[in-house]
Symmetry: C2
Subunit: 322 residues, 2 copies
Amino acid sequence: MDISNEFAIGIDIGGTNTKWGLVNHRGEIIQKGDLRTDAHTTIDAFIDALYDTLTPIINTYNSEGNIKGIGIGAPNGNYYSGTIEYAPNLIWKGIIPVTKLITNKFGLPSALTNDANAAAVGEMTYGAARGLRDFIMITLGTGVGSGIVANGQLILGHDGFAGELGHTIIRHGGRKHWSTDLSGSLEAYASATGISLTAKELLQNSNEESLLRGYSEKDLNSKAIYECAMQDDAIAKEVYRFTGQILGEALANFVMFSSPEAIVLFGGVIKAGNLILQPTKEHMERNLLPIFQNKVRLIFSELQEADAAILGASALVWDIRD
Amino acid sequence: MDISNEFAIGIDIGGTNTKWGLVNHRGEIIQKGDLRTDAHTTIDAFIDALYDTLTPIINTYNSEGNIKGIGIGAPNGNYYSGTIEYAPNLIWKGIIPVTKLITNKFGLPSALTNDANAAAVGEMTYGAARGLRDFIMITLGTGVGSGIVANGQLILGHDGFAGELGHTIIRHGGRKHWSTDLSGSLEAYASATGISLTAKELLQNSNEESLLRGYSEKDLNSKAIYECAMQDDAIAKEVYRFTGQILGEALANFVMFSSPEAIVLFGGVIKAGNLILQPTKEHMERNLLPIFQNKVRLIFSELQEADAAILGASALVWDIRD
């Protein structure tokens, strides 16, 4: 069959919303939509709702078997077992056999992994990591996620849970994470929440004037910090310098683990551009053995943030073995 | 051919000595020997000497093509290119095309990797990691080396240099490494040199009596510390507890990277047994996300230390594709 007529359905399950899209091999989204996740108290009700939504599209595009399958990205999604396991931010508890339920309902092959792994596969299939066999994807959003590709394959580990780089400890005895209770993990600093905590700490520990002081504690988010930094506010700029330092030190450790050709950064935090990229690169290089220096490309994702999760989920489909 | 009659030659090139052995599929060393590395000022002279040494053995055992090839473990050995690249502790400088020279001279296929990767392959082929597809080997000797196996393959990275876990930073701003100049790397604490530095620091920072005070600075090595710890010396025991804490914290980070089924520890430092194993395990578990806790087996190598490098090098041969 002409692969230009082949499609994959990508589904991104989040705590509140679920997005879906019909995607071709070039990463073009032909149709997309979303539905509430948390409006469905059981997984069966959720899958029934998905089925009702997607059936007209499947009927239109699958006339000759052109839809190759359904890929799903979800928190705590396990590629090996096809199950979502104890996801804290989903209303369905325990172990959910997602791919089994989807394939039974839709009669299509399906594959599942976690959000960050799906993002890595999406980047490798359609984005900045096309053609790369060794790279690390770091997603910097509300949390810090990661997907690691080595020898052209996702590193999944013996249990499917590899690649939790946001929870590696980068500052011994450092900032306590608000939900994991670990001290000094990367996510405690380099997530949107972490960045906002850094700003609050810097404001508390100094009397320096700052545009940031015009914000209430609640409104002092990474968007506000970015805007103040763009107006040359010294404390706001220091927030990014410090965040980049921590991130760069963490990336140096990751490079000495898997020696990737590139590290792809993704998520809201990278909107700060060079404010974050420059200190990250500087501190990554400074903490590398010479043998690794000036070799690793530090690049931004090429996928539209709004579509990346759908694209990543859809990209899982092309690798499903019949 | 009956594989019980197949042999591999394993060669371990160290700064001072080079060891060789003729090994079968069960990891039994049929013959072995060694020669000085540093007595040969050029790589060609070294390979000529190896050839003269090995020719009688090859003539005896290779009558029916039973010798499948030559595997080499060497510092900075690159599996992809078959070259030793800028190894600081070898007298041959620059980039040495080892596998090309060996294969040309001996007429046998050859493969090269660094010492720790060879140890990992050896452990997977003949030792404690038999049958494992996801594990990490940590060698704790003069330095701290590592070999990472995921999906049943060595993680080599885009350039062949992956797996330098001894140089990852575990204590920001911590102890300066004597040769890399990095601050707070794992090797600065968990190598034999690091352990001896920890003992010196503890003795300096306290007035407590200790058997360790009976040693000159030069003689205060990890063997002395082990012996004092076995006599229940409080400072000597604290050296191991602290070393295990640092190692355990580092292992937690590694687990969250590749989610291995086991971590295999190897090298002189593990002679301390539970003195090092118990605090390592405790601090590894304490720094893991719950999803990883109580899943990773922390085990000791099953290869005789004296033979492990030869076995590891020989194990590379079984994977050479014709």
